[in-house]
Every structure is written in C-alpha cells, then in structure tokens.
C-alpha cells in the first residue's frame, strides 16, 4: 500500500485471518494489519478516536452480528468513513453478493483463492494496485 497506515481486516474466521496475516508478512506490506471479527467491531474501531484510521479495509461478507453488506451500508452513509476504499475479500462467488457490493461502491471484490500460493499472488496484485493509487491522507 502507498501509506504505512494500518490495513483493517474485518474477518470472523481465525484461519482466514491468519492466512492474510501470513501473506502480509511474506510480502512485507508496510503498515500494521489490524483485525476485527465483524462489522460492529469494525465500526467501533473506526469510530474510536485513539485508533489510527486505516488506509484500506479488507472486508469479509459472511459474518455474525453485522455482516459485510450491513457494514458497507453504514460506512457509505457516513461522511467521514465513506472515503476509505473497501475491498471485499470473501469466499462467495454469488452474483447477488457481487452486485450488492458494487452497488455500495466497493473498490474491488476478490474471491479468496483456496490455495495459499495463489492467495499470496492475489494479495500482491492488490498491494501493487493500492501502491500505484493515491489514497486520501486528509485529516478526519
């Protein structure tokens, strides 16, 4: 990523979260990876003044309490939060999930490759793109 700000990972599955962490370490992506386990926790994180705001959010869709689509609806209706690019990272290939995510203006929708090496490749491409792209650095 272009900045060294944290990447916020919203993911309920421990194994999946571990895989992301491992790949982030392996690719030496700058910026800490902060993990929360559902949309509600993610909102609490984003709204707590003491936390550094993430440069990007990786969002799982199927989660308990507040799922990805519900989280997206809240974030995109919030003037201070809506500027953070959100990339869906999910196992779902359902067209209805893809359409409803893009309807809420996500900045990418990646179906998690099951194979670890392919997952690292996917994350590498994401990192490359978001290193090329500018990110809003403005004060919140």
């Amino acid at each position: 990523m272009r900045t060294s700000k944290p990447v916020l990972l919203v993911e309920d599955d421990d194994v999946d979260a571990m895989m992301v962490r491992k790949a982030v370490d392996e690719l030496e992506i700058a910026g800490p990876l902060t993990r929360v386990t559902n949309g509600e926790e993610a909102l609490a994180y984003l709204r707590s003044e003491g936390n550094e705001k993430p440069c990007i959010i990786f969002l799982d869709l199927n989660m308990p309490r507040m799922n990805g689509a519900e989280f997206l609806k809240v974030v995109k209706a919030d003037d201070t939060l809506k500027r953070v690019p959100i990339i869906v990272l999910t196992a779902s290939k359902e067209q209805c999930d893809i359409v409803s995510s893009f309807d809420l203006c996500v900045a990418g929708y990646i179906v998690k490759p099951v194979d670890y090496e392919r997952f690292v490749q996917a994350l590498k491409t994401i990192d490359l793109y978001w290193t090329l792209s500018e990110l809003p650095n403005g004060r919140w």
Partner: protein, 153 residues
C-alpha cells in the same frame, strides 16, 4: 479486465486518449476502448441503451462542460450506473481532488505518469487488478428477467 466489455475512457485531451489507446494495444488488453471527451458525453454514452455497458470507467478530472467530480456526483447518485467501478486517471496530485474523489467512492486514483513506459506499467497494474477482481454482471440479465416477468405476468 476480467470481462470483455468495453472500458469507457472519459478524457478531453486527445493526446492523452491516444496514449491510453496505445498502452492498451501494447499490453494486448482486448477490451474495446470507448471514448467520451467530458462527463456530459460520458453520461450520454452510459444512458444510451444501444451502447454496451462498460466494465470499468477511466476518468480524467479536469474537463470542460462537465468535469470528473461533477460526473462522479451524478453517477454515484444513479441506481443504474453507480455499480460500475470508476478509476480516476489524472495529472492532479491535489489532496483536495484525491479526497473528493474517494468521498465519491472511486475505486482507485492514479496520477498519470508522464513517461510512457511508466504509464504502460500503470495501465498493466490496473488491468491486472481488475482481472483479479470480480465485476458485476450488470442489470442486463435483471432487466431481461423483469421484461420476461412482465410479459408472462
């Protein structure tokens, strides 16, 4: 890009448009490149039912008539158009432009490299990313289904 649908380039500068076209050719990006020279023309293109919907929109910001930010405001308020990812491709590095664009939920903001080789690399990265990312199979199917339902109903 993942789909074979057109990419819509919204760019008033003909030299810049030619550079994008050339980079597509050099990288063997097979998507047809549709070109509009400002936001107004781009909206006309998008709202003309005989045009195939683009899979991605590449948007310049500084344009006459309707600029990039004005175009984004209209597109993101339109239920039919808002799902198409819009990637800003501009010479502006202004923090104000970057923040405004992300507030309007762009899916990337790329400052055009002046050097052609770097420009090609940038387009390669954009192509790679939108090859990895899913894209919405747009409403055509839904419209057809609605149409069929209304005929059957």
């Amino acid at each position: 890009m993942r789909s074979s649908k057109p990419v819509l380039l919204v760019e008033d500068d003909s030299v810049d448009a030619m550079t994008v076209k050339r980079a597509f050719k050099d990288l063997k990006v097979t998507n047809p490149l549709a070109h509009a020279i400002n936001g107004e023309e781009a909206l006309e293109y998008l709202r003309n039912e005989s045009n195939e919907r683009p899979c991605v929109i590449l948007l310049d910001l500084n344009m006459p008539k309707m600029n990039g930010i004005e175009f984004l405001k209209v597109v993101k308020a339109d239920d039919e158009l808002r799902q198409t990812p819009v990637v800003v491709l501009t010479t502006s590095k202004e923090e104000y432009d970057i923040v405004r664009s992300f507030e309007l939920s762009v899916a990337g903001y790329i400052v055009k490299p002046v050097d052609y080789k770097n420009f090609v690399e940038a387009v390669r990265t954009v192509d790679l990313y939108w090859m990895l990312s899913e894209l919405p199979e747009q409403e055509v199917g839904v419209k057809d289904a609605n149409f069929k339902a209304s005929v059957v109903g």
